[in-house]
Symmetry: C2
Subunit: 353 residues, 2 copies
């Protein structure tokens, strides 16, 4: 790459989403503000960093952990937020300048990126280079991104279902749940999902091919609801909700069943965790309960592409995105996740090219 | 076997431990009574049953589940108790008469047997024939019986530790815990146990070779206690207590750690299960929590004998028994389990030969 004189480098405005202060309960829009700084479109001389122009951001429930003062030290690899600085998260971007020989100008990448129009990535080794552009680029925030690794590893690595297994998926219309359900259907399972509105239930049943689905907000008794769909019990539950829902699931599992959990969204923002009464069922029913995150499964990404790209191209899998335009609408998109406002995977568009 | 005329068969007195009525809370001595009936020392003509003279009974916490009216249907293979009839449990006995070609008169067996001096076993296929009598016969109620299968399968099948792993064993001086701890030591692990008295702590440290041990009754803060012994966290916890102890364990596990549980004794007799606050740590720390019982692992028994008999003969493993004499003292031995009165594996001697 031709070296330019640093003084002649173009300087542009750079809109950013800034964390105002550490967040304790539910994040609110006022916990963030939009700021505009300037940035030179070149990496610092001698740096190995990569400068990118951001295109899409993935809006994820887990982001709210990064807003807290008391941090989960066990969640290694996380980039916690600093008040007064831009937040970050998974996103798709185009390389503008690069000090890393693995990335050239114009390359498309996905990985952890600051929530700003242009972002300097100091650790480009965490970026994935995007090789397949015949599918929507936004898919690299979801089905081909972090949520995609989560769903793929859940079904194809952590708890592999057998044909005919009776599967329950919670948060089933979300970024991860919709994929888990569809992958299980492709494996010949009976799949039921729970969601928080009739519209989402219709989506699961009519568009995503779930065998059945229910709106948990209309179920006063989760145990009774699950009993209706699983009179003989659940073989595998892919669980992302926690609390009362997890407790009901524990009470309805088959002997030797498995609960695989990559999140407990109902527990993220409450002062005291909900009481679980059925924990002893783990012993009574000889269950296996596994917690996992995508971070343990990044090595599976080539396998994921081999499996999932043909599913996308062959329309075997549908991926529902809820797309919001404009970085300035990011805080509202984050907040909406916790009331279930999003309809499918929440994506934020910063720029279309 | 010579066929005797049924009328000439010896009839003997048969002392029995009878369940008075279903039990709801802690079992009390008054929930049982001793009764003496008579029994003919011959199986009914044409029967495939086996008649045994009982020698030792295993006194197990799990027995109290069988006393309840509301039963755990998922605990398949259990023989629930009927008020007015003898209770049952694992025991060692000598065959007096047999309609099963696999068992001959004089054979020693262990398996599920009625709590009575002589017991007719209608399903002899569940009995194990005792082949090795150079070790104490009472060991077939423990280290070579059900508790033995539980401990062996925990360490050698369900959650196999690696050399150097940091292991926590709860209820560590009990029938199962003392074996798990010693097996883990033989595998080169660092092992800490918890127990309910200083005497038991001394046993663990001085006789059973645990690296350390603590009396949980003297620890107001389980989290702080565990932090002292496991500043870098626990790799595997073999857990039998549940409730507050399990909750503290969840908060101190290493990332990718495993909790293996074959019981939750603290939760068996309380009206409302204790609240667990750290369930979300299963996701945060990517833990695996496995419930299991010996019943899934009976096929491992030949391997257990291959491994454990040499350990016993070579004095590589110590097995501490708390031996009570006399069937009439059975109810008191059962009740004592729940206050931790037993010192090691609780055995009840009915007859020495």
């Amino acid at each position: 790459m031709e070296k330019k004189n640093i003084n002649s480098v173009e300087e542009v405005k750079n809109k950013q989403v800034i964390l105002r202060d550490y967040v304790t309960g539910h994040p609110k829009e006022s916990d963030f503000y939009i700021s505009t700084s300037t940035i030179k479109l070149q990496i610092p001389p001698g740096s190995n960093a990569v400068l990118v122009k951001t295109l899409f951001f993935s809006v994820d429930p887990v982001m709210q952990f990064h807003m807290r003062k008391v941090q989960h030290q066990h969640l290694d690899g996380y980039q916690y937020y600093t008040p007064g600085s831009p937040i970050n998260g998974f996103g798709v971007a185009k390389v503008v300048d690069s000090g890393d020989p693995n990335f050239g100008v114009g390359d498309l990448v996905w990985g952890t990126i600051g929530w700003e129009e242009y972002s300097l990535i100091q650790q480009p080794q965490q970026l994935f280079k995007i090789q397949h552009t015949d599918v929507p680029l936004s898919f690299y925030t979801g089905i081909l991104g972090m949520a995609g690794i989560t769903a793929y590893s859940a079904v194809y690595e952590v708890s592999i279902p057998k044909k005919g297994d009776r599967i329950f998926v919670t948060a089933a219309s979300g970024a991860v749940g919709q994929l888990i359900g569809q992958y299980c259907k492709l494996m010949g399972c009976y799949v039921v999902g729970s969601a928080c509105s009739q519209e989402k239930v219709d989506l699961l049943k009519n568009k995503l091919g779930f065998d059945d689905a229910f709106n948990y907000k209309q179920e006063p008794d989760f145990h009774a609801a699950l009993k209706r769909y699983f009179p003989e019990g659940i073989d595998i539950c892919y669980e992302q909700v926690g609390g009362k829902m997890l407790d009901a699931v524990l009470g309805i599992m088959k002997v030797h069943g498995c609960i695989t959990s990559c999140g407990m969204i109902s527990q993220y923002n409450i002062a005291e965790p909900e009481t679980l009464k059925n924990v002893m069922q783990i012993v009574v029913r000889r269950l296996t309960v596994k917690g996992f995150t995508h971070r343990d499964h990044h090595h599976l990404y080539p396998k994921l592409l081999d499996t999932v790209l043909p599913y996308i191209r062959g329309e075997k899998v549908v991926y529902v995105e809820d797309i919001v335009e404009g970085l300035e609408n990011g805080p509202s998109a984050i907040v909406g996740l916790f009331s279930g406002r999003n309809f499918g995977k929440q994506v934020l568009v910063v720029s279309h090219e």
